[in-house]
Amino acid sequence: MNNKEFLNELSKRTGFSAKETAELMAALTNELAEQFEEEATVSVMGFGNFEVKKKLERVLINPSTKQRMLVPPKMVLTFKPSATLKEKL
């Protein structure tokens, strides 16, 4: 399901117009992103947890060229589905 289909279905379910849903959705993703920037854990009942994790820097070796690279530390957004979501699938 792509974004268009998703928005269509969403507007159908919530009763908002397509335009409104698109705007609302954009606002929601913005809100989410903002939370993630603050390294917050977003947990949604029956869906799962979004968590921001720190990854340490590491040395990586390109197996074909044997070149060593230093990969910098980074923040990664992870998602862990909840038990109920797992059961549904």
């Binding site: 279905e9 929601l28 809100e31 917050a40 060593r68 957004l77 549904k88």
Partner: protein, 401 residues
């Protein structure tokens, strides 16, 4: 420390951004996630713009063991949700580290490497003699004159010493003096003049192997470098240098002569040569130390026995073998690209409990690496698999040089 956000919080954020009622916002946020779940149950993947892609990956059924009871259980095939954030979102998340980039590390980047390089730069003098003199036979004195080697850290010597274990090469050492008899006498004074006493270890190695032509420049280099290193000590370093060059030339001449003269000569001279050299050695104090050192080296190294054995063999076998080494070698399996030819059976060993081949190699040849010759000699398929009572033939080895 960690902030937890739930659906109501998200709804609040939504209200802040858009003018909608609390109820609607709640409903909207909830339906968004419900919809995702529903969509996932019916479809393989759901893309949400600005967030990312949720995918369902089917996991094959597999067997496992119940940790508590030890029973085998089958984990049936099921779907697994994976989420990959959109690029824009992951970039936003990673903002604090956005400035970092993956950096290619050069070889020398680590400090360990740096430390390793430094001595190399200081000691090139050492390395060159070690490497290049090895093949040659004659340069005992030349080596003796390189005091620089001794002054520079001991590092260079140890590898050289490790090379010595090549058992059969030591007899070659015995030969060298034969060739050089005349030069030896002349060189020893040189040795005396040079202030450095402990040339022995080098001496031991050097005689073992050296290509004569290659050395001249090498040795000269050595001299110059050594000279440059001890400018404080000698105003007459030029004099030393001259002496050194002279000695080298003499040696070379001696070596060439020795080469030309047939093997018979060698045979005759072997015995006296050794004695004379020893006499020479004892005559000079420094050389005395040389001898001591060599003795000590012998005592320390398990090679000692082997070397002695080799020495005893040499006078008889060497001249003969020189001619027929290849014939004899042809009768035995040979180690590819090895340093030695297998030319006969030195001894047989019956395996006892606790024996292993590398131990045998160490006992009889002074070097674990010689195990390859034992393996080859006995055509062992699996060297880690030997039985008590098994007969192991220990090959007699002759240097390929």
């Amino acid at each position: 420390m960690e902030k937890k956000v739930y659906l109501p919080d998200l709804a609040e954020g939504l209200i802040r951004r858009k003018e909608i009622g609390k109820k609607e916002a709640d409903l909207f946020v909830r339906t968004v996630f419900e919809l995702i779940v529903d969509a996932l149950t019916t479809e393989q993947q759901v893309k949400v713009k600005g967030v990312g892609t949720f995918k369902v990956v089917t996991v094959d059924s597999r067997e496992s063991v119940n940790v508590n009871t030890g029973e085998r259980i089958v984990i049936s095939s099921h779907g697994k949700v994976t989420f990959s954030p959109e690029k824009t979102l992951s970039d936003r998340v990673n903002k604090p580290f956005a400035d970092f980039e993956t950096v290619v590390l050069n070889d020398g980047t680590r400090t360990e490497d740096m430390e390793r390089i430094d001595p190399v730069i200081e000691v090139p003098v050492e390395e060159t003699p070690a490497v290049e003199e090895t093949p040659a036979v004659e340069e005992t004195p030349v080596v003796g004159e390189t005091p620089a080697v001794e002054e520079t850290p001991v590092v260079g010597e140890t590898p050289a010493v490790e090379e010595t274990p090549a058992v059969e090469e030591t007899p070659v050492v015995e030969e060298t003096p034969v060739v050089e008899e005349t030069p030896v006498v002349e060189e020893t004074p040189v040795v005396e003049e040079t202030p450095v006493v402990e040339e022995t270890p080098v001496v031991e190695e050097a005689p073992v192997e050296e290509t004569p032509i290659a050395e001249v420049p090498v040795s000269e280099k050595i001299v110059s470098s050594s000279v440059s290193k001890e400018p404080k000590s000698g105003r007459g370093w030029l004099f030393y240098f001259f002496l050194f060059v002279l000695a080298v030339l003499l040696l070379l001449g001696g070596f060439i002569l020795g080469r030309k003269t047939p093997v018979l000569n060698q045979k005759e001279e072997v015995a006296p040569a050794t004695t004379t050299t020893k006499a020479d050695v004892s005559a000079h104090e420094e050389t005395d130390t040389l001898k001591n050192d060599t003795l000590m080296a012998e005592a320390k190294s398990p090679v000692a026995n082997a070397t002695q054995a080799a020495e005893t063999q040499v006078p008889e076998s060497q001249p003969v073998s020189a001619q027929s080494v290849e014939e004899r070698a042809a009768q035995y399996p040979q180690v590819k690209n090895g340093e030695f030819w297998i030319v006969g059976i030195k001894a047989t060993h019956i395996i006892e409990k606790g024996d292993d081949l590398s131990k045998l190699a160490l006992e009889h040849y002074g070097n674990k690496r010689m195990i390859s010759y034992i393996i080859k000699m006995n055509r062992l398929r699996d060297p880690s698999h030997i039985c008590v009572g098994q007969k192991i033939e220990l090959p007699e080895l002759v240097s390929r040089q």
